[in-house]
Amino acid sequence: MTTTTRTGVVLPSLATVYRTRASVELKEFFRQRESVVFTLAFPVILLVVFGAVLDYDIGGGVTFTQYFMAGIIAAGILGASLQNMAISIATERSDGTLKGLVGTPMPKSAYFVGKIVQVLAVTVLIIAILLAVGVFAYGIDLPSGSDWFTFLWVATLGSASCTLLGIAVSSLAKNGRSASAMVTPIALVLQFISGVFFQFSQVPVWMQTIASFFPLKWMAQGLRSVFLPDFLAAEEPAGSWELGRVAIVLALWCVAGLLLCVATFRWQDRSAG
């Protein structure tokens, strides 16, 4: 029954379609004022405000701004991955974009490749802007030597786990607006209890325990090891940076996120049958 299949037809290469999707996703993100302001500008504004207001010494001549640098980068990664994916994919599912794409010969992997490129670009950009503002406006000390390597793997693992979680969470929401209503307060609460806006050691222990179940706390902790002098590791709950545990928890969230994505991802709105 394959008489009608044109076997001579050459489908476009994966590389071609991946390039198209990457370009589409970058345009969709950077042309939308809301996403640029919310995801890119908001962490920068927070850094500017917190840096100007909370400029106290947290011990050993280290300013809170130096501490906040780690937290705001972690929050920036969370916004670029989890919040961005949850909201944009829920929107594209409810408005029929996904259904339209899956009716074309586009390989399904291309959709996710496009999203990953988008998250990567936004994440790199936000980290660069935050570092630039930190260094030039507030005299933040940049990491040195092997700290850059820690920075790289913490950001990569954190971003990967939160991207996968964001894709999974998008399936819970009816549309982009409800995804935003669901994910924004959760992200905000996590930021408060994970050592982004306050020193983690000042957060009540039971809240620390809750925060420990989620990736943000571990991302922020890993990044503190990058931005803070090692004597401040004594302030951490375990008395050390626990980089091994950071890697394990974030890797486990990657696996859990991937399983959730595979189990829950839908190309069509549920209401459409």
Binding site: T2, T4, Q32, T104
Partner: protein
């Protein structure tokens, strides 16, 4: 009945799928919970024809079309679209289809041209995006972002996205909703030019004039079953149905239903010795027979 009898030959449940048909459906059943959306539907759509599926909301049109497109799977029955089972259709199979969904595509920050270029890149032998923009009358909107288009322009963009991959089979689910009369006429001529290129089309519509203007055959679907399949002029036997001749006489409107309108008009002409005042001869419209058909079933 000569034109309609060939068209009215309909497959039955249990017969083999037609290997030469663009779409061949036997005994199709789809349920949503207790609701039977499609209830034993049989249909063959020939290559190169425009087939219009008519029916009230909830009759099973979109469900049938979406099973053919591979979006839904049937509970019973067999479906072949371009020789393949839609739920097994891979990229090569999809490359031969064009799909204009009822819901349309989503909001996008991309321009019309960018969207068409992206869509074209998924297909092995796409049309030129600028040529397609011209075909749907959106050349002036090439650089406008999709989300700034009006409802009718958005729909034309949906159609453009559906044809840019040079489909051999095009699905159009209520394509002209939101069109003004002029845009609808332009759309009709676009559809006719696609047919001239050999594109097979399955069209669902609420507009009977659209089905009559475009379709080679129409199928009326009610309660998940095909009530009738015929060429538009013969639907419901309306080509042989009594015509109503009406005219003005003695200060009043008079009318007569007759199966021999020509003879009757000749007789009237003899009586009036020339022009018959306000003469009209009307067959039942497609709408008349359609409403009668779906009315009988509900």
């Amino acid at each position: 009945m000569t034109a309609s009898s060939a068209a009215a030959v309909r497959p039955r449940t249990g017969e083999a799928l037609d290997p030469d048909a663009a779409i061949s459906i036997r005994g199709l059943v789809k349920r949503y919970g207790d609701f039977v959306a499609v209830d034993g539907l049989d249909l063959d759509i020939r290559r190169g024809e425009i087939f219009a599926l008519l029916g009230p909301n909830g009759a099973g049109k979109t469900t049938t079309v979406e099973i053919c497109e591979g979006y839904r799977t049937q509970d019973a029955g067999a479906v072949h679209v371009l020789g393949e089972n839609p739920s097994d259709g891979g990229r090569r199979w999809k490359a031969q289809l064009g799909i204009v969904l009822q819901s349309g595509a989503g909001d996008s920050q991309l321009t019309c041209r960018e969207l068409l270029q992206a869509q074209a890149s998924y297909y092995p032998d796409p049309r030129d995006p600028d040529e397609v923009l011209g075909l749907v009358g959106l050349t002036e909107k090439a650089k406008s972002r999709a989300k700034t288009l009006s409802g009718g322009q958005r729909r034309r963009l949906d159609v453009a996205l559906g044809i840019v991959g040079r489909p051999t089979l095009l699905f159009l689910d209520e394509p002209t909703t939101g069109f003004d009369p002029e845009a609808r006429r332009q759309f009709w001529s676009l559809i006719r030019s696609l047919r001239d290129l050999g594109t097979t089309m399955l069209l669902t519509t609420h507009y009977l004039d659209e089905a009559e203007a475009l379709a080679d055959r129409v199928g009326v679907i009610a309660r998940g079953r095909l009530v009738e399949v015929a060429v538009p002029s013969a639907l419901g036997g309306r080509e042989t149905a009594p015509a109503v001749v009406s005219w003005h006489e003695d200060g009043a409107r008079r009318s007569e239903a007759t199966s021999f309108p020509t003879a009757f008009v000749r007789e009237l002409a003899g009586r009036f010795q020339g022009e018959i005042p306000e003469l009209s001869v009307a067959r039942p419209t497609l709408e008349d027979v359609y409403l009668q058909m779906i009315g009988e079933r509900s």
